[in-house]
């Protein structure tokens, strides 16, 4: 098991190093940020002074050398926009995104497992048809649309919830719901398909024959065997959610990593882009390790790979 996790970690580390190099050079291919930071009608001399101050005129390899040296000292550089350490900005933004994603994903997994399993219990029954319709709609509707309509209905028309911001628990309801809908819809479909296969297996029929209760057959025997594809999709959705939260963060004014990254990309704030990508890559890498461990725990055959 330890060897398995160690190998996965080594693979992840190589990917992260490759990603850091790629992001560094790709970001610079998009051009010099000087024009974005200077007043639009600033004289050429002022722009030259700014570019020289920040080393934008240096060859890309020289800039990369500076960045790599800083990285070895855990120095990600300073944000051009905010004149603050880039890593501080990223670490300040992360908790909001993590809380938002963790709550939404937990709710999505719990709800989708229950709904998907119940839908699989009587395929093509009323509950299956209704849940399939709702889950397919949920998986297909764009987040942005749900967010705006959610505000219109619950904040403007009904006046039940605040439109945006992060002040109270009520502020989180629409954003979490918006983030929850899509992965929930998707996972319900995966759980349903996987459970239909599991419920038709011989050991389930044996359990029936022995008079085991329906609840135990679904939630003890069948579900454990149906979980591998669900973990794959849920893991993928969770990783995507860290980035996908950007729409919710932008619309609702949540100060999370998605919004920070979008702003940083727009303004070519290289240090923040690099720090954000690296921290996100490490988070996704850690998530993948957790998924692998979950696989190994559920399926002993994997441990021997």
């Amino acid at each position: 098991m330890l060897r398995y996790v160690g190998l996965r970690a080594l693979n992840g580390l190589i990917s992260i190093i490759g990603l850091v190099i790629l992001v560094f050079f790709l970001a610079r291919l998009t051009g010099d940020p000087t024009d974005l930071y200077m007043p639009i009608d600033a004289p050429i001399e002022a722009k030259q002074e700014f570019a020289a101050n920040h080393g934008f005129n240096d060859p890309a390899l020289v800039q990369f050398g500076r960045f790599a040296t800083g990285l070895l000292h855990f120095d990600f550089g300073e944000s051009l926009r905010q004149s603050r350490p880039a890593l501080d900005l990223v670490l300040e933004a992360y908790p909001t995104t993590l809380i938002l994603s963790a709550i939404s994903m937990t709710l999505a997994i719990v709800v989708s497992i229950v709904v998907g399993a119940l839908a699989a219990w009587r395929p093509n029954g009323v509950f299956d048809r209704v849940s399939s319709f709702i889950s397919l709609a949920g998986a297909s509707i764009p987040n942005f649309w749900v967010a705006i309509v959610g505000v219109l209905v619950f904040s403007v028309w009904l006046r039940w919830l605040p439109t945006s911001g992060t002040g109270t628990v009520w502020h989180w309801i629409i954003p979490i719901t918006v983030l929850f809908i899509r992965p929930c819809g998707l996972i319900v479909q995966v759980v349903r398909g996987s459970m239909i296969s599991a419920l038709s297996a011989a050991y389930v029929k044996t359990a029936f024959a022995k008079g085991v209760k329906d609840r135990s057959i679904i939630f003890v025997h069948a579900i454990r065997n149906a979980m591998l594809p669900v973990i794959t999709v849920a893991g993928d959705q969770a990783a995507g959610m860290i980035n996908g939260a950007v729409i919710v963060e932008v619309v609702f004014g949540f100060p999370g990593i998605g919004k920070l990254m979008i702003d940083s990309i727009s303004f070519r704030d290289f240090a923040v882009i690099q720090a954000g990508v690296l921290v996100t890559a490490i988070a996704i890498f850690a998530l993948n390790i957790l998924i692998d461990i979950a696989y190994a725990m559920l399926d002993p055959r994997i441990r021997r790979v």
């Binding site: 998009t30 051009g31 010099d32 940020p33 024009d35 974005l36 930071y37 200077m38 007043p39 639009i40 009608d41 600033a42 004289p43 050429i44 001399e45 002022a46 722009k47 002074e49 700014f50 101050n53 926009r81 905010q82 004149s83 933004a93 229950v114 709904v115 119940l118 219990w121 009587r122 509950f127 705006i148 505000v151 219109l152 904040s155 403007v156 006046r159 039940w160 919830l161 605040p162 439109t163 945006s164 911001g165 992060t166 009520w170 309801i173 329906d214 609840r215 932008v250 619309v251 609702f252 004014g253 100060p255 919004k259 920070l260 702003d263 727009s266 070519r268």
Partner: protein
């Protein structure tokens, strides 16, 4: 099945919990909330030329020696009560007495000298320095406690106007680094800044002038226009900036006003755009009136030059180009007959998300040009790419192109437009006309009526003799204002939302 029944029950309980939330009440106090489009990346007073920073700080927290009036662009006293030109390059400013900074320090000549030195300090990347003082040397001299001499090299006829852009900060402000807690002499003190969430300004009881009605202003940041509009509608905010035309659905709350931006299509004067007949054809084939009240607000004005009528140097001689498709086609045919490659593709570059309905407007323009036989293709690009394409040094392999360009002159004088866009040294200029350069230099040094006439002559010459662009519109913005407030936005509001101009109905 029992499980499904349980699920339904849970759903009902959840909905009941949600519906039990108390309705949001509308705030009836003298505190207000203003919702802006984006957070402030920094709050240093030496960056107030950036509209989103100046909009919060200028004349609220930080005051200037002089101020430019929105109504007529007149330069009026603020922290200086008067000034006179003692030498061609030197102005003497007499400071207002008994003025305190919000930290208790007194305003005097030394504080003014220190503030100017701070803006000019190369150790701080001040946008105000980059914009106004890159090629200008400023020197200061304390005459007495309340008098200061300020000189410029080259001599600036409009030095008070330039100084209307320079914030005067407390002498205790860090002179070598950007500050996170600006302290000035304004009617509000900077109370709190949570960079991504809010800024709070509290009324300053020691203010030298009239006490404003608003006691506390909280600035929030939301990038989505519909959300900003909703926040005012439900009482979560009192003022929402930059509402898109589609979201401006309530005439009782939505105020449309001319901002200081003029929209034009700048031309790179390369074949076929190096031929004036082609450039004129571009202008003649645009039905500007068709956009107003449809894609653009009904308050939008057709522009004849890159500044509003309230700016010194605006020429009343200029009239908009008529919409004359036949004449446009005739000019193109003439040019083509003379060997001008009129069917060569010209790319129109525009920035993504510049203003509401921008892409619709640009698509319609392209269609109008295609109809008269011009070959134009629209390409929406990111700001960084757009700025690179439109700023000097231009690429050596540059082809004829159009740049959808907005210019904001809210500083009161044509000198903040002409040198950048029309002088051959201008960072955004496509022109190289020695006669024009000489007039711009002469006008910059002139004062009074002569200055006005010279800039008018420049505007006339550019629009009639060169035709370097398709001049389009003086643009508008929409602000949503809670009906409990009285506030009238003006062309400077986007860069200077003065809280003391806000009053309450009751």
């Amino acid at each position: 099945m029992n499980f499904t029944g349980g699920m339904t029950g849970l759903l009902v309980v959840g909905l009941a919990a949600v519906t039990a939330t108390p309705a949001l009440a509308q705030d009836g106090s003298s505190d207000i909330k203003i919702v802006l489009t984006s957070p402030l990346d920094n709050v240093d007073p030496c960056n107030m030329t950036a509209g989103y920073i100046g909009g919060v700080l200028k004349q609220n927290v930080i005051e200037t020696l002089a101020d430019v009036q929105a109504s007529d662009s007149a330069v009026v006293p603020k922290l200086a009560t008067s000034w006179e030109r003692t030498e061609p390059s030197t102005w003497r400013f007499h400071l207002r007495e008994n003025v305190k900074f919000q930290d208790g320090e007194a305003l005097d000549a030394n504080a003014v000298v220190a503030s100017i030195a701070r803006v000019l300090n190369p150790a701080i990347e001040c946008r105000d320095r980059f914009k106004f003082f890159t090629n200008i040397k400023i020197t200061t001299k304390v005459v007495d406690k309340n008098t200061v001499d300020i000189s410029s090299e080259p001599a600036l006829a409009l030095l008070p106007t330039y100084l209307a852009q320079v914030g005067i900060v407390s002498p205790k402000t860090d002179m070598a680094a950007l500050t996170k807690k600006p302290v000035g002499t304004g009617p509000y003190q900077f109370a709190e800044w949570t960079p991504t969430e809010s800024i709070v300004l509290d009324r300053f009881d020691g203010y030298w002038g009239q006490k404003p009605e608003v006691a506390k202003a909280t600035y929030l940041f939301r990038s989505e226009s519909a959300l900003r509009a909703s926040m005012v509608e439900v009482g979560e905010a009192d003022i929402a900036m930059a509402i898109s035309q589609q979201d401006a659905t309530d005439p009782a709350m939505d105020v449309t006003y001319l901002n200081s931006e003029t929209l034009r299509m700048r031309m790179a004067l390369l074949p076929p755009l190096n031929d004036i007949r082609v450039r004129k054809a571009f202008n003649l084939s645009v039905d500007k009136q068709a956009f107003i009240g449809t894609i653009l607000s009904g308050e939008t004005k057709i522009a004849t030059q890159m500044m509003l009528p309230s700016i010194n140097g605006y020429s009343n001689d200029l009239k908009p180009w008529p919409y004359d498709v036949e004449q446009a086609k005739k000019l193109i045919a003439e040019a083509k007959a003379d060997g001008v490659p009129t069917d060569k593709e010209i790319v129109l570059y525009a920035r993504i998300g510049r203003f509401a309905n921008d892409e619709e407007l640009l698509q319609a323009l392209v269609q109008m040009w295609l109809e008269v036989g011009l070959n134009v293709r629209l390409q929406m690009v990111e700001s960084a790419q757009w700025l690179k394409l439109g700023s000097k040094p231009f690429a050596s392999d540059r082809q004829a192109l159009l740049m959808a360009e907005g210019h904001d002159n809210s500083y009161g004088d044509a000198v903040f437009t002409a040198p950048f866009y029309y002088h051959s040294d201008g960072s955004k200029s496509e022109l190289s006309d020695p006669q024009l350069d000489a007039w711009i230099t002469e006008a910059t040094d002139e004062t009074g009526e002569e200055r006005t006439k010279l800039f008018q002559k420049i505007n006339n010459y550019v629009a009639q003799e060169i035709v370097p662009d398709v001049m389009l519109f003086h643009m508008t913005s929409v602000m949503r204002v809670n009906p409990r407030l009285i506030y009238k936005p003006n062309l400077m509001t986007l860069g200077k939302l003065v809280l003391s101009e806000i009053t309450f109905k009751d």
